[in-house]
């Protein structure tokens, strides 16, 4: 049996036994749009069509993408906090204005937020058994990556603060390079690192906020998008009198 769908004259046919394993984010989104088109037109796809391998593939795509976004936000967070604490230069100045501080946070948050908004946009497709299942598995990967990021980054930043940058240990470590660096450079590096040290504690808590955003934004987006699509479909069915009812 084949599932059929498509809009504006295009037809999408997929064999039921075929494995669906999106390789990347774009492929996963396209696959979800295909499922949606089919289920929206009232052509129900059997639940078994979405195999266990397919579910894992969607989960993997979400998880890998989530990890990439998480890594970037973890790296950028100490920069943003460092700018606010006047330890790092932004736009070439070490004395940031209010706008500069705001922009440092915007840059640190933007990749995670943008990524989360991309997933939030899937809300408009959140109907039908297969489409819902695909979106759920994709998001499960993203949420797991966000949670792992939050916990690991929290621990890592505390480790950096309490262990790696502990004044005595740091001093001993830097003294090993005394043969390499001359003049007052080593005391300057030591002092700068000690001044930068508290930034990691603040960053640990900031990362928890970004992790929460990575989960909350898609959840809110899907709740809103789903409601809008259902309303639009109900109106469409009312005015056109079409017999085709979507699978909810």
């Amino acid at each position: 049996m084949a599932a059929k769908g498509g809009g504006k004259g295009e037809t999408w046919i997929q064999e039921q036994g075929q494995q669906h394993k999106p390789k990347g984010l774009v492929a996963a989104f396209s696959e979800i749009q295909n499922y949606f088109m089919s289920e929206r037109k009232g052509s129900p796809i059997q639940e078994e069509f979405f195999t266990f391998g397919g579910k894992i593939a969607f989960f993997e795509v979400g998880f890998k993408g989530g990890l990439l976004s998480a890594l970037l936000s973890v790296l950028l967070t100490p920069f943003a906090i460092g700018v606010v604490e006047a330890n790092l230069p932004i736009f070439g100045t070490i004395h940031p204005s209010g706008f500069d501080k705001f922009f440092a946070f915007a840059i640190a948050l933007s990749f995670s937020t943008g990524y989360a908004l991309l997933f939030a946009g899937l809300g408009k497709y959140y109907i039908g058994i297969i489409t819902k299942s695909a979106i759920k598995n994709l998001l499960l990967g993203v949420f797991l990556a966000a949670a792992i990021k939050g916990i690991l980054a929290f621990l890592a930043f505390h480790f950096i603060y309490f262990v790696m940058l502990e004044p005595q240990r740091l001093g001993k470590f830097l003294l090993q390079f005394s043969w390499l660096v001359k003049g007052g450079a080593l005391p300057w590096v030591y002092q700068s690192l000690l001044e930068f040290r508290p930034v990691f504690l603040t960053s640990a808590y900031f990362v928890l906020i970004t992790s929460a955003l990575m989960i909350l934004i898609p959840v809110a987006g899907i709740a809103i998008g789903k409601r809008k699509t259902e309303k639009a479909m109900a109106q469409e069915a009312l005015y056109t009198g079409s017999g085709a009812q979507p699978v909810k």
Binding site: F91, G92, F103, A104, G114, G121
Partner: protein, 96 residues
């Protein structure tokens, strides 16, 4: 054979010499040129304007139009303009 090889080496050396910016500018002039570009693009008002525009473009392309690669490119450009001003500033303003 040796003549051909020596001609090849000489022309290669000439080409490498032409690549060096110090064939055309003095060291101070070269550093000042970069300092000017750095100041103009990576610090001050223009840097802030470019950074904001690139960040907005990143969201517009990456999220709204779902052109993820283009979104990432704009994000990286915003990131470069925001944070590299200090590094380049130290490299070129100290040397001039």
């Amino acid at each position: 054979m040796i003549e051909i090889a020596s001609i090849c080496v000489a022309s290669a050396t000439g080409f490498v010499d032409k690549l060096s910016p110090l064939s055309y500018f003095s060291q101070d002039g070269y550093a000042q040129g970069w300092a000017f570009i750095t100041r103009w693009f990576l610090t001050g008002l223009w840097a802030r304007i470019f950074a904001v525009l690139f960040l907005i473009s990143a969201f517009w392309q990456g999220v709204y139009r779902q052109k993820i690669v283009l979104g990432i490119i704009f994000f990286v450009l915003a990131l470069i303009i925001t944070y590299t001003g200090g590094i380049f500033g130290k490299m070129f303003w100290w040397s001039t």
